[in-house]
Symmetry: C2
Subunit: 308 residues, 2 copies
């Protein structure tokens, strides 16, 4: 086995992201000992049962103490509290990172608690499923996905940044660097606004009295089915995302509503050309995503069918 | 091989739906001879090249003449014109069907042209991919999907309805009956409104100057990526869907906008409880869809990864 990148890694929070990190680090021999902590006793018990982490601790401080890398894998709204709690035990020279979906508010909440002799290097792996909890992780989650590294400020130690990038690359991800505000805007477009929209559409379907739930479920071919997948994501995580990336999300939703009204008017007035032109333009983006290897072009959406 | 359900089937239009029907009918030995016609010479040439249809004809009338079942597989807006064209050659006692995504306007456009001695049994298979054209079809497209049969009116011959249902079941689908107005409302919820919303969101991303296209493409993890898949569907088909299911689509979009505004306000005012409750409720619908076998619960979205 090759030399681990960090001797001791602590994962605070043991959901989908942390458990996938654990399995990916084990797969690659990237860490010596990995400690873990979760707030709920049930999660800690489950982690011990399935061998998630080399050592599951009963407090965040116990897990973080002596670690060369501490990764906060808790909902965005809980990051500040955890940082405050573990700050006194952090090893000088350690790197503190996180996996939150928003970065400006995490930096604002976490940075003030940290001692000067640790390196704060926030990160955001762009990968997930609609599943959550300690049993949902798998080693391949990050393979060929992006992890955006967002150094807390210009003074962040370059070696600490590069070491964390190497870890993410070892877990299968491509890495990129970005500042926090730009990250939050990009994610509002590619993830946060789409999630709110999907949640909304699924809620509308559930409310509609003239269409039964069973009809919604039976007849959800492409379209709504993809929305329900998005709208099944972890409620706590997403509540925190929206509350913590408020400005960018509301800006994008405002733009979205404008465009939607324009298309609704085209439907109402029967302007087929406008609809056709709009739908033609959006096809190109899809092609780009497939070419970039971020989704499959399989015509059956992974249902396992084969062409004759 | 078992007895075919129809001796002669004509497919008018040779895109994803028709080509998948052809392969599914061949797989099941459900039809004797299958003729086909497409408006474009290039499509007809391609169909002949890949063996799509037993006989490719150079006019819709030639394909439809003598057929026991004629299936209109053209965009919703073109159904009326095709029906008018083939009406004079239809065999007495033949069944005319279609695969359009809206039913009331298709019935309104097609029925007046048909002679009294044919059976008009509209249908709508709820299956698709974002691909189109004669090469996009595959025999398994309809396996375990729903096909909604929408008899044109109360006088429709029961035997003709049952025979068409048997064909669809033979192609792998489950079948259900519904009246046209209810079909159009259900589909507005489960498919049409979600498609317009996805198109809109992808258009917004494309317009945003501060986020580059390459960023949108690179960082489109779950969320936006699913939207781009939906928004890559055939522009002509979807233009016609919206123009022909105007009332139900606009009603659902109105409801959607109301709900979206309520959630935007919750974000703006920081009402985390409202967001959390809403997101928790939408999870249940997803569970129902997985239990109904209409999507996979695989945590990797079919990317082929396995748990360790």
């Amino acid at each position: 086995m090759s030399q681990p990148i960090y001797d001791r890694v602590a994962l605070i929070g043991l959901g989908l992201i942390a458990s996938s990190m654990f399995w990916a680090m084990k797969r690659g021999g990237l860490a010596g000992e990995v400690t873990g902590y979760a707030r709920s006793q049930a999660t800690r018990d489950k982690a011990r049962e399935i061998g998630l982490c080399d050592r599951v601790c009963d407090s965040a401080s116990e897990a973080a103490e002596g670690a060369d890398l501490v990764v906060l894998c808790v909902p965005v709204g809980a990051m500040g509290g955890v940082a405050k709690e573990i700050a006194p035990v952090l090893k000088p020279g350690a790197t503190i990172s996180d996996v939150g979906s928003v970065k400006r508010s995490v930096i604002r909440a976490v940075a003030p608690h940290l001692p000067d002799d640790v390196h704060f290097v926030p990160a955001h792996p762009l990968a997930g499923t609609e599943h959550s909890g300690p049993e949902s992780g798998f080693a391949e989650l990050y393979d060929n996905r992006w992890c955006i590294i967002v150094p807390a400020d210009e003074t962040t130690d370059h070696d600490a940044v590069r070491r964390l990038e190497t870890l993410w690359q070892g877990m299968g991800a491509n890495t990129d660097e970005m500042d926090a505000d730009h990250h939050d805007l990009v994610l509002a477009v590619t993830s946060h606004a789409p999630h709110l929209i999907a949640y909304t559409m699924v809620g509308v379907a559930d409310d509609l009295r003239r269409v039964t739930d069973s009809e919604v479920i039976k007849y959800s071919a492409a379209g709504f089915r993809d929305f329900t997948r998005i709208a099944a994501s972890d409620p706590t995580m997403w509540r925190d995302v929206f509350l913590n990336n408020k400005d960018a999300t509301l800006e994008i939703l405002g733009r979205f509503t404008e465009e939607l009204f324009a298309l609704q008017r085209a439907i109402r007035t029967g302007d087929g050309d406008q609809l056709f032109d709009y739908f033609t333009r959006t096809r190109d983006i899809r092609r780009g995503i497939i070419e970039a290897g971020q989704d499959t072009d399989a015509p059956d959406f992974g249902r396992g069918a084969k062409k004759p």
